[in-house]
Symmetry: C2
Subunit: 293 residues, 2 copies
């Protein structure tokens, strides 16, 4: 028992949104026997039925009021849906309930959480995992394994609330990392939103040629497959992500476009020494990275 | 027996360059028992020893003159090394030998092949497969399986030479596709060289931020991993590829940078209808693609 009035194994967790992230979280909490019970809130009847059928949740409702029974309420919807939901969570949440979210951008959400009533304990979160498929059918209990699980506490977030959020992250195999919300948003603009922008724009650019001659895809191999993979993701979720991080993302995309034009200039001019140095430097940096997910 | 004077099962094949592509070809020809014997030409003593030790080749030399015994000579070095080698192949090649290459760009190579003496039979080739590791140690007999194997015949290439090249491609599990060399170079600029340029530039862009704060990589997940994968490739090979296709590649990179700036404008302006339409269109196109490698 912590000062929050409950310990994780005794907690009832309500997950709002049972898509890839929320569904995988429910499956992971269940598989690892992390908490006492799991409630699911979704307006998607198919996801609700699947989650009950797979035993991921103990009870379900289309109505947020089900979360009034929870010690921990986790908002696992797209960012702007989270922003819409936050004002409705305070009135229904029990005394001392932790309110967490899994949104892909954090500054706007943490700011909205500041307005939550004093009887709830807010903290922002962003697990760095996902895949290009989505919805509960794509959910899997291992999604969070080895993933960095960013936590963005508010000024009002207590050490014990942070500790409980960290233990939840560790319990599902993830690695907690505490970050300032604004810094998080700057970083993911480069490591997550920019790669999506490149994948989508590559698909758009080649799609234009394919429109004239579809056989171009016969020359698309594993490199094209991997570089465009993110483009297949959920456009609605990405739209929320890009719009709620628009300054950082538009800056990152323009910076990358600028570097691309510099690269094109070197190629067009046949400037081999600089081209070799640039490509070699990127190769060395990429080979030095180790990915555990 | 064809009009070329030999059938594939009776042929001696010389592979010049025993890196990822040449080494994998040797292993595939051996595994599928495609030809009578396989000769390896490389100036890399380690690759030569490994290839002999793994039984990929029957004989090896650092000297191109070994290829004088071959019915089929396959140049599997970087593009500009191929361009350097072509003038030396004619004088040593036997009467009726097929001279093929595996270079990533085709226009310059096919042009150089035009100058080969009349007693040899040239044809360009480009198998659409690879990976970000390289050298003989990375070679594998299954590399060509299901890969599109582009063949770019010259005006002088006979139907029987083309048929023999196609049967070689099929014998190692690849799918032959006959294309004009110039058209090939336009297409791979988009499907292969542009993805590499994006991967490398993404690595450069994020690397700049990492220089100030290396913890940015803790926020790099599978999306960043896949989108940057190509950046780890062999810079020397890519340099040859980009330089010998410079007009097409610089055009493709600039076109993509232009589309990226358009995307950044939509994001910065919060133009949701156009942004949604753009991302959704790319997602639909990407999901429609099926990759068999």
């Amino acid at each position: 028992m912590t000062e929050d009035g409950f310990a994780l194994p005794d907690a009832t967790v309500a997950i709002v949104g049972l898509g890839l992230m929320g569904g995988s979280l429910a499956l992971a909490l269940r598989a690892k026997n992390v908490c006492r019970s799991i409630l699911g809130v979704t307006r998607n009847p198919a996801a609700l039925e699947s989650a009950l059928a797979r035993g991921a949740i103990d009870a379900a409702s289309a109505d947020l009021s089900l979360a009034s029974e929870a010690d921990i309420i986790i908002l696992a919807t797209p960012v702007r849906t989270i922003l819409d939901q936050i004002p409705h969570v305070g009135p229904i949440a029990r005394q001392g309930a932790i309110v967490m979210d899994l949104g892909s951008t954090k500054r706007a959400i943490v700011q909205a959480m500041e307005a939550l009533p004093p009887h709830v304990k807010p903290i922002g979160a962003h697990p760095m995992c996902g895949k290009e498929t989505f919805g509960f059918d794509a959910a899997e209990p291992g999604l969070y394994r080895n993933a960095t699980f960013v936590l963005t506490p508010l000024a009002r977030t207590s050490a014990s609330t942070l500790a409980l959020a960290e233990s939840l992250a560790r319990a599902i195999g993830a690695r907690p990392l505490v970050l300032d919300a604004a810094r998080h948003d700057q970083m993911v603009a480069l490591t997550s939103h920019l790669p999506f922008a490149l994948a989508s724009t590559l698909m758009t650019t080649v799609g234009e040629m394919a429109h004239a001659d579809a056989s171009v895809y016969r020359l698309a191999a594993s490199g094209f497959r991997d570089t465009t993979r993110l483009a297949a993701g959920d456009a609605t979720m990405m739209l929320d992500t890009l719009i709620t991080n628009r300054e950082n993302v538009s800056h990152a995309v323009r910076l990358c476009a600028h570097h691309l034009n510099e690269l094109a200039d070197l190629i067009a001019a046949g400037n081999e020494p600089e081209l070799r140095s640039l490509l070699q430097s990127a190769a060395v940096q990429r080979r030095a990275l180790k990915f555990e997910i």
